[in-house]
Symmetry: C2
Subunit: 239 residues, 2 copies
DNA sequence: CGTAGTTTTGAGAGGCGTCAAGGAGCGTGG
DNA sequence: CCACGCTCCTTGACGCCTCTCAAAACTACG
């Protein structure tokens, strides 16, 4: 354990409701504390893990913001997700014992390290935890299917509107505003995630501003008309 | 149990190496047989499950061919995957106890029904099975990331070449030819999966034929130059 | 206050979607 | 056995959305 790691406890963590299965008794939470033995700090711009790294642990984001991305043989890359506090990173590594994507901190961050062997061990003991792990993986699969839908069948405006609505919704679940957000990623990273070039992302932002739907000042975005965004995503059902 | 369901045994299944964890002893396989209690036949065109259906079981494809797809509020849909013998369907349902996609048979098919509660129960008993279940879910996540890469950063020719190479590779692993295949899905379904219109799929097929890379006769495809396909997917590394 | 990284905006090109028509395969029924 | 209709597939013409290339403005930071 080096200076990058610190001792912590789930039982005293304010992200408990996001990370952990509901309805654990005190004894069970105690045992969970033994799983999450350490935290690790990641500086902005550096990687939690890279493609090919040995898989040992899952990571729960405690603070900060991550992107995960995969790369083609010829260097193009695709952001597969953005992760914020309470979300789990590393599930990609289970199948082959090595990570198949990079996880990079977009701002100084801290993660809880959960050695996977211990997760599996404790899962055999607690039905609740076992089911929770299954749900986390299933949630990721369902999320991925949503991204496929976005990439496969939506146009630029729909993609960006969907993206913004998804971000504020997740931020709101963490106690932040429903109408204001600070983007932690560049236009290029947004574009990579949404299957668009950075210029198209920028242009689409500008279009939304022109239409009075949002205000944008660099990374800061204020949503002035949420319903308008919803109408862009889903022309029929709204207003 | 109706006429659609039949009694079976993993221990005598020739897909064992695809479906099951390696290195089980006879006693363990015996217990597995209790999980896969029944099979179910699905007629071409009908659904194994639909969006919103209660989630109860995972399904292992025993024969036939499936597609899974999600739908937007306004009716556009996206094929999220094609599943063949030995592959697992239904993981999407775990997180919310309801299925979030449709699974439709593209030809008459048969699946092994694995009630998920029993899977979880036995997973707590066998480390091997537990880890296998985790790997299956992780594999699906990694596969989904690959599809995102395809949808987000490839052009029509690369997408179709990738698709064909992936199909023959999976078929070859099941004892079929490396160079011939019969498509079980329509051009429209291929297009939905690859984020292209059916006309573009058809045109791209024709282009490959013109270039002497493949022969196409309706659903039948013969790959005449695998390396050429690989070069389309990855211009640098090949040839 | 200069430099590098990020973002915006413009102009032009091209890949893919859209619309439309025709053809091929296949099951059904006369 | 052939006619018929249905679904699926192919091909062409045209237009638009997004990419590409380019330049300039803005921010951050040393």
């Amino acid at each position: 354990m080096d200076a990058q790691t610190i001792k912590v406890a789930c039982s005293s963590c304010n992200l408990r409701e996001l990370c952990l299965p509901m309805g654990l008794n005190a004894g069970e939470i105690d045992k969970l504390d033994r799983i999450v033995s350490t935290r690790r700090r990641i500086k902005r711009g550096s990687a939690l893990f890279n493609v090919g790294d040995k898989f040992t642990s899952l990571y729960a984001v405690r603070s900060g913001f991550f992107k995960t991305c995969v790369t083609t043989a010829d260097g193009r890359d695709q952001v597969t997700g953005f992760q914020m506090a309470g979300e789990i990173i590393g599930l990609d590594g289970i199948v082959s014992d090595r990570h198949s994507c990079d996880a990079v901190a977009l701002e100084d961050a801290e993660v809880c390290v959960m050695p996977f062997e211990q997760v599996e061990e404790l899962s055999r003991e607690f039905t609740t935890l076992q089911h929770h792990v299954h749900k986390i993986m299933s949630r990721e699969i369902v999320r991925d299917h949503g991204v496929m839908l976005l990439l496969g069948s939506m146009r630029a405006e729909e993609r960006l509107a969907t993206f913004l609505l998804n971000l504020v919704q997740r931020l709101h679940a963490r106690g932040f505003s429903q109408s204001e957000l600070v983007l932690r990623m560049t236009r290029e990273e947004i574009g990579s995630y949404l299957g668009m070039k950075l210029e198209t992302v920028s242009r689409t932002f500008s279009k939304f501003v022109d239409e009075g739907i949002i205000d944008v000042k660099q990374r800061y975005v204020q949503i002035k008309d949420t319903d308008a965004l919803r109408r862009i995503v889903n022309p029929q059902n709204c207003g």
